[in-house]
């Protein structure tokens, strides 16, 4: 890792340390006993340490480790998504294809840098293949719904998330060998936006944006979180190929997309009658709960950078 990356991780470490201290003080001053919000806050901070450590290790090991890490992330996300989507016996071939063929293939295509294929493999070829496989079962009940469950699972959990490591394939003049920092930028800005929306919502939240879809999203949380995260994204221009004003627009784009990603995924969860996608990350819920905003931000970020900077 180069100097900038070390500096970045040192900064993240300092922020987490600050968060841990605030969490400990809150626990000590406000609520020595059990307290749902503070306990959840501390669990979230602890999980953040673990997530930053995992990403840090992958960065230290290099591009292959990062691709493998996101392969794993996609696997867990797809598993959570398909677990909550009831399918029928005749969907088995489509699900086998999703887990054992499409998922590895998409990451292989990213790894060998075949842009022309990884950018259309799932939305074109797999999109058509899945209903073909489903039709072989000869079961017409809820056909379109069942087919689209598998299609959407792959779209969100595999296709969209694979655009995070796909940032490594971009050749940006003057930015050679530093593409990992683009991943860091995307993940930091989007995740900080989530965190700051949560914090602003808890502190100042009054008016709910979409009470039927997500009870925790408020106008105050959205405006405060997006504004602060966009500010931080602008201040981080030095790790990107962007000028400060470009970094501001990019961060704003990421944050707005991230917000709507969270909203759409909340609507899906609501419809399935659950609060969280899973249970693998203490305090956060499942993998998809942490990644809903990244799903929507990553492909657009990739294409914006590819269009204007390569």
């Amino acid at each position: 890792m180069d100097g900038q990356t070390w500096l970045l991780f040192a900064g993240i470490g300092a922020i987490l340390l600050g968060a841990s201290i605030i969490g400990a003080v809150l626990r000590w001053r406000v609520a020595p006993g059990p307290h749902a919000v503070i306990d959840n806050l501390n669990a979230r901070i602890k999980a953040w340490w673990a997530m930053v450590a995992v990403i840090g290790c992958a960065f230290a090991l290099g591009n292959w480790a990062v691709i493998l890490l996101f392969y794993g992330v996609s696997f867990y996300a797809l598993r959570e998504f398909m677990t909550l989507m009831p399918t029928r016996r005749s969907d088995y071939p489509a699900l086998v294809a999703a887990f054992y063929f499409v998922l590895p293939m998409q990451y292989l295509l990213v790894a060998i840098d075949w842009y022309g294929m990884f950018s259309i493999f799932i939305p074109v070829y797999v999109f058509l293949l899945l209903p073909i496989l489903a039709s072989l079962g000869g079961d017409a009940k809820h056909f379109l719904e069942r087919a689209s469950k598998v299609q959407w699972g792959l779209m969100l959990a595999v296709y969209c998330i694979s655009f995070v490591p796909a940032l490594l394939t971009l050749d940006i003049p003057g930015f050679e060998g530093r593409n990992l920092l683009l991943i860091a930028y995307l993940v930091i800005v989007v995740q900080l936006s989530d965190v700051l929306q949560y914090v602003c919502g808890k502190l100042f939240g009054r008016r709910r944006i979409a009470p039927n879809l997500s009870p925790s999203k408020t106008v105050e949380g959205f405006v405060g979180g997006v504004a602060l995260a966009t500010g931080i994204g602008t201040a981080l221009y030095w790790i990107t190929p962007f000028a400060p004003w470009q970094a501001l627009l990019m961060a704003l784009l990421l944050n707005v997309l991230g917000f709507f990603g969270g909203l759409v995924m909340s609507a899906i969860k609501r419809d399935r009658g659950v609060k969280d996608w899973g249970h693998m990350i203490e305090g956060h819920g499942g993998m998809l709960d942490r990644l809903d905003s990244v799903c929507f931000a990553a492909p657009i970020f990739f294409h914006a950078v590819r269009y204007w900077w390569t």
């Binding site: 696997f75 598993r79 398909m82 016996r89 088995y92 699900l95 054992y100 399935r272 899973g278």
Partner: protein, 209 residues
């Protein structure tokens, strides 16, 4: 030794594939004599239930399995007899009309806990959540009122291992353990079977498509 290794391998792979999660909603895992009764849709059901018990309870918790399928010599027989210490019963009543529950009675008399699937066979119908119960569980509970009947809903395993498919799907499975019950002294068979069935269904996640 081989049995231990095989048990470990089976549990590890079951956990890896299904991300096994156990919710002890109505009770806690403890060393009292119990009959865990669950919905049945896959040959892997008892493996998952067994794996979700604490290790110290496993040796005394024996799955009840159909002799017609599991009694075959070879790997299947070895696994059910030596690894899981299963109780094999004849599902097709032969002409010698002995009590088909006799092996279960012996296990209960010896103080063992059991894993039982009161539907009697795998439920392979997507449309039906739970088949009607066979009456065996009623007779066992009447004869052994001190044994706790613990309902366990096994969610999703039918999707992980659909019938006749070799490759399991890595979907998440959750086992929900409900509040124990027992047959009342004056309870009629049908009423008890209905109550036991309702207690199990109450643990199932919301339906949808």
């Amino acid at each position: 030794m081989l049995e231990k290794l095989l048990a470990y391998a089976i549990i590890a792979s079951a956990r890896t594939v299904t991300g096994l999660r156990s919710l002890w909603l109505g009770t806690t895992p403890k060393a009292v004599q119990r009959i865990y009764y669950a919905n049945h849709s896959s040959h892997g059901d008892f493996v998952l239930l067994w794996a979700s018990l604490p290790p110290e309870l496993r040796p005394r918790t024996r799955p009840v399995a159909g002799a017609d399928y599991w009694g075959k010599p070879g790997l299947r027989g070895f696994v059910i007899n030596r690894v899981f210490n299963g109780v094999l019963i004849e599902r097709q009543r032969s002409e010698a009309d002995g009590n088909p529950l006799a092996p279960i009675e012996r296990a209960l008399a010896a103080g063992d806990s059991l894993i039982l699937f009161p539907e009697g066979t795998r439920n392979l119908d997507d449309e039906v959540r739970l088949l009607p119960f066979k009456s065996g569980i009623y007779h066992l509970s009447r004869a052994h009122p001190q044994v706790e009947l613990v309902p366990v809903w096994i969610a999703n395993l039918n999707r992980v291992m659909p019938k006749g498919r070799a490759l399991p799907l890595p979907l998440l499975c959750t086992l929900s353990f409900g509040t124990p019950l027992a047959a009342q002294a004056d309870e009629a068979k049908e009423a008890f079977l209905e109550r036991a069935r309702e207690s199990l269904l109450a643990l199932a996640p919301a339906e949808g498509h």
